[in-house]
C-alpha cells in the first residue's frame, strides 16, 4: 500500500461527500415537484410524455397500485428486449451481421437488464448488435435505475407522510428520475468520457495491420495443433460512451465490451476511472441527503451516510491490503518474479489488472462496484487474492446497502434501519418508533421477509448447483475452494442484482441462464414488494410525539447500531459458506497449495 494509493482513495470519497448535499437537495426538489433550473427543458417534454401515454400526473397511487404499475412496466420492457435480441439479425445497425441471440441467453439477458443486474453470460462484441445495445440494453440502464429511484422515493414518502393512503404516482416518479436526474447528467458525463478516449461511433469494426505479426497455435477438435500467422487486429467499435455513462450512473454495470471497464475503450485513463467510480456513488450518496430532507430530519440522513461510509472504508482497506501482497505461490514455485511495490511499479497481484490502474484503483473500484449494485469491473475479481475477492462477495451479501444501487441501496438500508430501531426498542422494552412512526408487527414481518428472501435465493440456488456435477460443476474454471466461490459469487451477484462475476465460470449454459435469471427476478421484485408494503403501511400511521423512551436516529449510537445490525445479519447468514470458499482458499494458499 502506498501513500499515493490512499490519497487517491480519500480524494474519491471526498468528492462523493462534497456532492452528496447538492445532489440530494436537488433530487428532493425534483420529487416534491418544486421548481428546478431544468424545468424549462424538461417540463414540456414531461407533459408530452404523459399526454402520449395517458398518464394522469395528478393521480396518487396506493402501494398496491404502485407495485402493479411497476411490475407491468418491467414485464413489458422485458418482453420487448427479448424480442429485439432474438430478431437483431433482421434489424438495422448491425454492421457485423451478428446472428439472433439464442433463447435461453436472450431470456437471461432480458431479465438481467430489466432487474438492474446486468449479469452478462455472453461476450458483447461478438453477440449484441449496436441496435440491441442502445435500444434495449442502454434503455434498461436508464429505466431499471429510474424504477429503483422511484421505489426509494415511494418508501421515503411512506416514512414522511402521515395518515395518507397513497405514496405518489409510479409513472411520474419514474419519468422525473429519468428526465431530471439521469438524462442531463449522462449527456455531460458521456462527453467527458469521450474527451478521455471512450469511443462513440457507429463504424464497422476496424482492421489494423500488426507491426509484429503474431504466431498463434490452436488445438483443433481432432487434437491436432495448427499454427497460424495473425497479421491484423480486429478493433471493435460502437456507441460506447453514451452507454458507459448510464451504465455507471444508474449502477447497472453491463459492459459494452466483455472486459467491461477494464477495456481501454470503456475506461481509457485514470481520470475516466475516477469519474466512473464517482458516478456509481454520487446518486446513492445524494439519496441519503434526500431522505433527511424529505423526512425533515437532515441529521438522520447523515447518520445513514456515516454508516455507509464506515463500511465502505472497512471494505477498501481489506481489498487494497490483500491485493498489494505478493502471491506466495510464486515464491513456492521458485519463480524469479519481482512483486515489490516501488516507484516504478505497483507490484502485488497484477493478474487481471491494468497497469494504468495498478493495485489501489483496482481494489477501490472492486469495492465501490459491489458496495453499490453496479457490477462494472476494471479488473477481474476471479483473479483476486482470496481475501481480496472476499470483499466484493461480502459487500453484495450485506445487501448492497453501502451506498448501494440507485434507489435499491437506500430502500435496502431503510429495511435495516427498521430492524435496528426494532432491536433498540426490544433492548429498552418499549414499542419502537422510527421518525415518529410506531414500528409494529406488520412492518417487522415485511422487513424480515425482505431480509430472508435474499439468502434463501443465494444459498438455495448455490446448494442445488453444487449437487449437479454435469450442469453445475462442469462450468467451473478453477478448482479447490475457489470453485465454490465462483458458484457462490454467481448467485450472490444475481440475487443482489449486482452483475459482476468471478468470470471464470462458464455461465452461458441452459442451467445457469435459467437459474440465474430466476435469482435475478427474485432479488429484484420479490424484495421490492415488501418494501412497498412497508411504505404503504407507514404512510397510513399517525405521528407519535417523541418521548424520553424514543430512540433517536441521528446519533453516532444509532450509526453504530445500524452497522452492527447489518454485520450481524450478513455475517451470521453467510459465514459458513464463506469459510468454505475464500477463507479456506486463503489458508490453503499460504500453505502452498495449488489446484
Amino acid at each position: 500500500m502506498t501513500a499515493n494509493g490512499w490519497f487517491q482513495i480519500l480524494l474519491f470519497f471526498a468528492l462523493v461527500l462534497v456532492c452528496a448535499k447538492p445532489v440530494g437537495v436537488y433530487m428532493a426538489r425534483v420529487f416534491e415537484r418544486e421548481k428546478t433550473f431544468l424545468d424549462v427543458v424538461f417540463r414540456p417534454l414531461e407533459r408530452l410524455i404523459y399526454k402520449l401515454t395517458g398518464v394522469d400526473e395528478t393521480r396518487e397511487m396506493r402501494w398496491t397500485e404502485y407495485a402493479i404499475a411497476m411490475l407491468v412496466f418491467s414485464l413489458v420492457t422485458l418482453v420487448v428486449t427479448y424480442a429485439i435480441e432474438r430478431l437483431q439479425y433482421f434489424l438495422p445497425l448491425n454492421p457485423q451481421h451478428l446472428a439472433g441471440v439464442p433463447a435461453d441467453l436472450a431470456w437471461n439477458t432480458a431479465v438481467s437488464f430489466t432487474t438492474n443486474t446486468n449479469w452478462q453470460a455472453y461476450t458483447p462484441e461478438t453477440t449484441m448488435s449496436y441496435l440491441t445495445q442502445m435500444l434495449t440494453l442502454a434503455y434498461h440502464n436508464f429505466f431499471s435505475a429510474a424504477v429503483g429511484i422511484a421505489l426509494a422515493v415511494a418508501l421515503v414518502r411512506g416514512i414522511a407522510r402521515r395518515e395518507s393512503k397513497t405514496l405518489g404516482n409510479f409513472w411520474v416518479d419514474t419519468t422525473r428520475a429519468s428526465l431530471w436526474v439521469l438524462l442531463p447528467a449522462c449527456f455531460v458525463y458521456a462527453l467527458l468520457l469521450v474527451s478521455q478516449g471512450v469511443v462513440q461511433n457507429f463504424r464497422p469494426y476496424d482492421q489494423a495491420k500488426l507491426i509484429q505479426p503474431m504466431t498463434v497455435t490452436t488445438t483443433g477438435a481432432d487434437g491436432k495443433a495448427t499454427t497460424q500467422t495473425v497479421t491484423t487486429q480486429n478493433i471493435a467499435q460502437g456507441p460506447v460512451a453514451s452507454q458507459e455513462a448510464i451504465k455507471m450512473l444508474g449502477t447497472n454495470g453491463g459492459g459494452f465490451f466483455n472486459a467491461n471497464s477494464a477495456h481501454p475503450f470503456e475506461n481509457p485513463t485514470p481520470f475516466s476511472n475516477l469519474l466512473e467510480m464517482f458516478s456509481i456513488f454520487v446518486i446513492p450518496g445524494g439519496l441519503t441527503v434526500m431522505l433527511g430532507r424529505m423526512t425533515k430530519s437532515p441529521a438522520h440522513g447523515w447518520a445513514v451516510f456515516a454508516a455507509m461510509g464506515a463500511l465502505f472504508f472497512a471494505g477498501v482497506l481489506v481489498a487494497y491490503y490483500a491485493e498489494a501482497q505478493p502471491n506466495p505461490l510464486m515464491h513456492t514455485a521458485a519463480l524469479h518474479v519481482d512483486q515489490h511495490t516501488t516507484a516504478a511499479q505497483p507490484g502485488g497481484n497484477m493478474e487481471g489488472k491494468e497497469v494504468r490502474f495498478g493495485i489501489a484503483n483496482s481494489a477501490l473500484f472492486a469495492t465501490v462496484t459491489t458496495d453499490a449494485s453496479c457490477g462494472a469491473v476494471n479488473s477481474m475479481h476471479d483473479s483476486y487474492m482470496p481475501l481480496g475477492g472476499l470483499v466484493p462477495l461480502v459487500n453484495i451479501m450485506l445487501g448492497e446497502v453501502i451506498f448501494g444501487g440507485v434507489g435499491a441501496g437506500l430502500y435496502g438500508m431503510l429495511i435495516f434501519v427498521v430492524l435496528a430501531v426494532f432491536i433498540a426498542g426490544l433492548m429498552v422494552g418499549r414499542t419502537p418508533e422510527y421518525l415518529g412512526k410506531k414500528i409494529e408487527s406488520y412492518d417487522v414481518k415485511m422487513a424480515m421477509l425482505y431480509t430472508l428472501i435474499f439468502p434463501l435465493s443465494i444459498l438455495g440456488f448455490s446448494a442445488v448447483t453444487l449437487m449437479m456435477p454435469n450442469l453445475g460443476l462442469s462450468a467451473l474454471a478453477n478448482g479447490g475452494p475457489h470453485g465454490l466461490s465462483e458458484i457462490l459469487y454467481a448467485f450472490t451477484s444475481a440475487t443482489g442484482n449486482n452483475g459482476s462475476a468471478f468470470a471464470g465460470l462458464s455461465a452461458n449454459t441452459h442451467w445457469y441462464n435459467l437459474s440465474l435469471g430466476f435469482a435475478m427476478l427474485i432479488g429484484r421484485f420479490l424484495m421490492a414488494i415488501p418494501v412497498l408494503a412497508i411504505a404503504g403501511n407507514l404512510a397510513r400511521k399517525k405521528l407519535v410525539p417523541p418521548s424520553p423512551g424514543t430512540f433517536p436516529v441521528h446519533t453516532p449510537l444509532f450509526t453504530i447500531l445500524l452497522i452492527g445490525t447489518i454485520l450481524i445479519v450478513g455475517a451470521l447468514t453467510f459465514f459458513p459458506a464463506l469459510s468454505l470458499g475464500p477463507v479456506l482458499e486463503h489458508l490453503l494458499l499460504h500453505a502452498g497449495k495449488a489446484y
Binding site: 487517491q8 410524455i49 401515454t53 398518464v55 404499475a69 407491468v72 413489458v76 461476450t123 462484441e125 442502454a138 436508464f142 429519468s178 458521456a190 462527453l191 469521450v194 474527451s195 469511443v199 462513440q200 461511433n201 457507429f202 489494423a208 500488426l210 507491426i211 509484429q212 503474431m214 490452436t218 487486429q233 480486429n234 478493433i235 471493435a236 453514451s242 455513462a245 472486459a259 477494464a262 477495456h263 481501454p264 481509457p268 485513463t269 485514470p270 481520470f271 475516477l274 505461490l329 510464486m330 519463480l335 524469479h336 518474479v337 512483486q339 516504478a344 493478474e351 487481471g352 489488472k353 491494468e354 497497469v355 476471479d382 482470496p386 475457489h482 468471478f502 471464470g504 482458499e585 495449488a594
Partner: protein, 193 residues
C-alpha cells in the same frame, strides 16, 4: 389492469425514442463534432495504413521490440474479444503459464527478477501499457538487438513514460505500441543485422 398494460406499452415506446434513439444519437453527434479522433478510437496510421490504436495493446514477442504483457483476449490482443484469464491465485494453470514466461524472460535477462506485470495477463487482454520497471528491465536487450546505445533507448523509454494523470491519478506507465513504433523510426528493422 388493462389501463396499466396500455400505458406501459405506450410509455415504453415513447421513452425508447428519447432514451434509446435520441440520446445516443445526440451524444454521437456532439462527440464526433468535439472529439473526432477520440470518439473513433485514436487509430494510428503509418503511410496510410492503420497499424493500431493508441489505446489498445498489441502482442510483441521478438527480442528487438519491447514486449507487452501476456494477453488472454482471444488468441492474444484480439480487440474484438476482450477478457482476462480469470485464473484464481491458487490456479495451477496460472503457475504453469507464469513459469513458462518467467523462464523465457530469465534466459534473456539472467540473474534479475521479472517485474510482475510482464508475466501477468491484464483484465482486458488489451492493456496498452507496461510499468516503467518492466520497460527498464528490457532496455539492455532491445539496445543490443537494435545496435543502439543503452542511453538512447533509455531516452526513448523516458519520452514514452506517462506520469500519473494530473500528478496523482493512476500509476506511471509506458505505452508499448507507441514506444515500439518510435523505436522503428529511430533504428528501422531493415538496418539491423
Amino acid at each position: 389492469m388493462r389501463r396499466n398494460v396500455v400505458t406501459a406499452i405506450l410509455y415504453t415506446l415513447v421513452t425508447t425514442i428519447i432514451f434509446g434513439v435520441a440520446y445516443p444519437l445526440l451524444v454521437t453527434g456532439a462527440a464526433q463534432l468535439l472529439f473526432k479522433d477520440k470518439a473513433n478510437g485514436q487509430l494510428i496510421s503509418e503511410n496510410g495504413t492503420v497499424v493500431g490504436s493508441h489505446l489498445l495493446g498489441q502482442s510483441f514477442t521478438t527480442p528487438a521490440y519491447f514486449h507487452s504483457r501476456p494477453s488472454q483476449a482471444g488468441s492474444g490482443y484480439d480487440a474484438a474479444n476482450s477478457g482476462g484469464s480469470n485464473y484464481a491465485p491458487t490456479s495451477q494453470k496460472l503457475i504453469d503459464r507464469m513459469k513458462t514466461d518467467v523462464t523465457a524472460a530469465n534466459t534473456d535477462h539472467p540473474g534479475t527478477e521479472v517485474p510482475v506485470d510482464l508475466v501477468t495477463a491484464s483484465g482486458s487482454g488489451l492493456d496498452p501499457d507496461i510499468t516503467p520497471a518492466a520497460a527498464e528491465y528490457q532496455v539492455a536487450r532491445v539496445a543490443k538487438e537494435r545496435h543502439l546505445s543503452e542511453s538512447a533507448v533509455h531516452d526513448l523509454v523516458a519520452k514514452h513514460t506517462q506520469a500519473r494523470q494530473f500528478g496523482v491519478l493512476g500509476e506511471p506507465r509506458v505505452n508499448v505500441l507507441e514506444l515500439n513504433l518510435d523505436l522503428d523510426h529511430a533504428a528501422p528493422q531493415g538496418t539491423m543485422k
